[in-house]
């Protein structure tokens, strides 16, 4: 991938808006299949999310600190992938994934629950003591989420808009390392968001590629650039399923190397709804 084309994407941005306006609307029927496929993707990830949450919360309840710590990041990945859908349930999103900054009293706030409450216990206080109630609550919330998503009709605009929304997540909270400030497992979440965004893009790509092949090429290049930088920080560089090193080990230069492609993806993917007439 040439760095040059990366930048060209930025300067061409203004034109993208114009091109979009002369494009014929995609027929509504054409959206049915990718939306259905996306629902399958979400349900599959939710399924795995439930199983992983079971293991994770059981480790907390059993007082196995090391195991609970090691399962924290691999469990969250599934949630991060499907965030555009999970976020539709604001109450659950808050109790599962809120951060201490969302509460005036921070970690002391009685309403602060979920992953990041456990993260604080496991990685900052380094204990499972007293966290069983949070583990139970998390498991209940995750089960509730699965039940609710199963009954949900997926709104096409939300699905398509999710590709950009996930990149906005990355730009806003992952690059800075504030999401997982105690465990420093931000790169797992980062990968989860990127996976989720890329999945949506792949599903709808066939509907836009004829009209705007340059757009597709740019997006693919920028996804590749992000993946390339992420790969530097895999525990096992050759194994895409292996985990990541601590975000503290990511150099300032690489943190910056993420920003360019992530912003370009956020800009480009923000036009995907328009391209599909949504």
């Amino acid at each position: 991938m040439s760095p040059r084309s990366l930048f060209l994407a930025a300067s061409a941005f203004g034109l993208m808006t114009l091109q979009g306006t002369v494009q014929a609307d995609v027929a509504t029927e054409a959206l049915v299949e990718p939306v259905a496929d996306y629902k399958l993707y979400v349900l599959d990830n939710l399924d795995r999310f439930v199983t992983h949450t079971q293991d994770f919360t059981q480790a907390v309840e059993a007082g196995d600190l090391a195991r609970a710590q090691s399962l924290y990041a691999p469990t969250r990945v599934y949630y991060e992938r499907i965030e555009p859908i999970a976020e539709l349930f604001a109450d659950l999103d808050a109790s599962i994934d809120a951060r201490e900054d969302d509460y005036e009293k921070g970690v002391e706030d009685p309403d602060f629950t979920g992953f990041h409450r456990l993260e604080y216990g496991l990685f900052e206080q380094r204990t499972t003591q007293g966290f069983a109630p949070y583990a139970k609550r998390l498991m209940a919330d995750v089960n509730d989420l699965e039940a609710r998503v199963q009954g949900l009709t997926f709104p096409p605009a939300t699905v398509v808009g999710g590709a950009a929304a996930l990149m906005e997540e990355v730009a806003a909270t992952k690059v800075s390392g504030e999401e997982d400030r105690y465990s420093h497992t931000d790169l797992w979440d980062f990968q989860g968001n990127v996976d989720g965004s890329q999945k949506i893009f792949e599903l709808f790509k066939p509907l836009v590629i004829d009209e705007d092949p340059a757009f597709v090429e740019r997006v693919e290049e920028n996804f590749a650039a992000v993946e390339e930088t992420l790969a530097h920080y895999r525990q096992d560089a050759d194994d895409p399923t292996s985990g990541f090193v601590s975000y503290e080990q990511v150099s300032d230069e690489d943190r910056r190397a993420f920003v360019g492609p992530v912003n370009l993806l956020a800009e480009d993917l923000s036009t995907l709804r328009g391209k599909l007439g949504l």
């Binding site: 040059r4 990366l6 930048f7 300067s11 808006t17 002369v22 920003v259 360019g260 328009g274 007439g277």
Partner: protein, 444 residues
Amino acid sequence: MSDRSDNMPRCPFSLDRRRFLQGLGATGTGIAMAGLSTSAWARSCPADDMPDTDPEVTSAPTSTATTDAYPFHGTHQQGIVTPRPANGMIVACDVLARDRDGLEQLLRTLTERIAFLTRGGTYPQGDPRYPPADSGILGPTIAPDGLTVTVSLGASLFDARFGLADVKPRHLQRMTGFPNDALDPSRCHGDMSLQICAHTHDTTVHALRDILKHTPGGLMVRWKQEGTVPVMSPSDTGPTPSARNYLGFRDGTANPDTADTALMDALVWTGHDSEEPAWTRGGSYQVVRLIRNFVERWDRAPLAEQEAIFGRCKDSGAPLAGGTEYDIPDYSDDPDGQVTPLDAHIRLANPRTPGFEKHRILRRPFNYSNAVEANGQLDMGLLFIVYQADLEAGFITVQKRLNGEPLEEYIKPVGGGYFFTLPGVIDENDFLGRGLLEAAASHA
């Protein structure tokens, strides 16, 4: 996120497709011209000219200066000898481009955006299912409003990434701390600085958002500081008095005369020194310093001490020896500092001794007021910006003379950086940094 696509309220509009397509053709191949294309959407929303009514509490503030425009093309960039408007900000960025081509693309995009923003015009209107072409905070048609955007490069841009080391301006360097500094790394340095100035604050914010929107893979903001200058009413009897800083003193009095082009060539514009790379001609060294003022403490200092610290009268701005603000301080009959202490700010900054002329600098500061410190004290101070032809002879020499001055008890420099302001963009075919890139190419 919620799904509102089906019941989204929309302004009625009608599209004249043929005119729209013509407009598209006229925009050529890039965003370059986007701002110039005329609106092709015939909106059925009523035009926004309102009948005359008595002003209401939320009626927009009005100004007759919104059409002020400074020509973008010229040997020098605007924003240096351009009269300082009421609002200014410095935005220090890191450049994300990965190679010299990417850097050139960034500089071309900046050139195009600044040319449009400083002239004003209408943004293209698009399909409402897409994000709009502009933030819209100034409406679909923007007025220039005295806007200037001045682009300068930091020493870090001349590292290995772009192969520019051989053509670096001779004095450009990373800012180092002075004895009274307490530099906060998150508010220092940068590959590039954008100085954005305009009559109104929202115009500067709009320009920044436009620029960032067009350079998503090219720039990352590192830090930003906004500032203001109080607006003065012109005096009937003489020159307009200088605006005051947050210590209550008139600031800018003894600046070199920007109307004197020979003086500007000597003091402000780089390139007359044969040891500078030729491409730097018409540029300038920009120094930015964020200097916190301890205003609570200052307001409890005796007036006489305040005046002795600066060497000027607080009300009038006149030298301590008397006269008016614009009387030139003369220390020749005050060798022991009986009238103007030897360590007064203005006396250290410019002893007015023979040969010191070459150390004069052009100050163009703004006052800043941020949040509060943990101790409940106000975080405010001076967004100190100076320009000079030679960084060593200018700021660095003067700051070294000021080290240890009594004013230090009331101020604390916390951030900033050294930059080189690129020469101006001559015409439509030119772009910011062209000379630099050509010099680098011929060096390789």
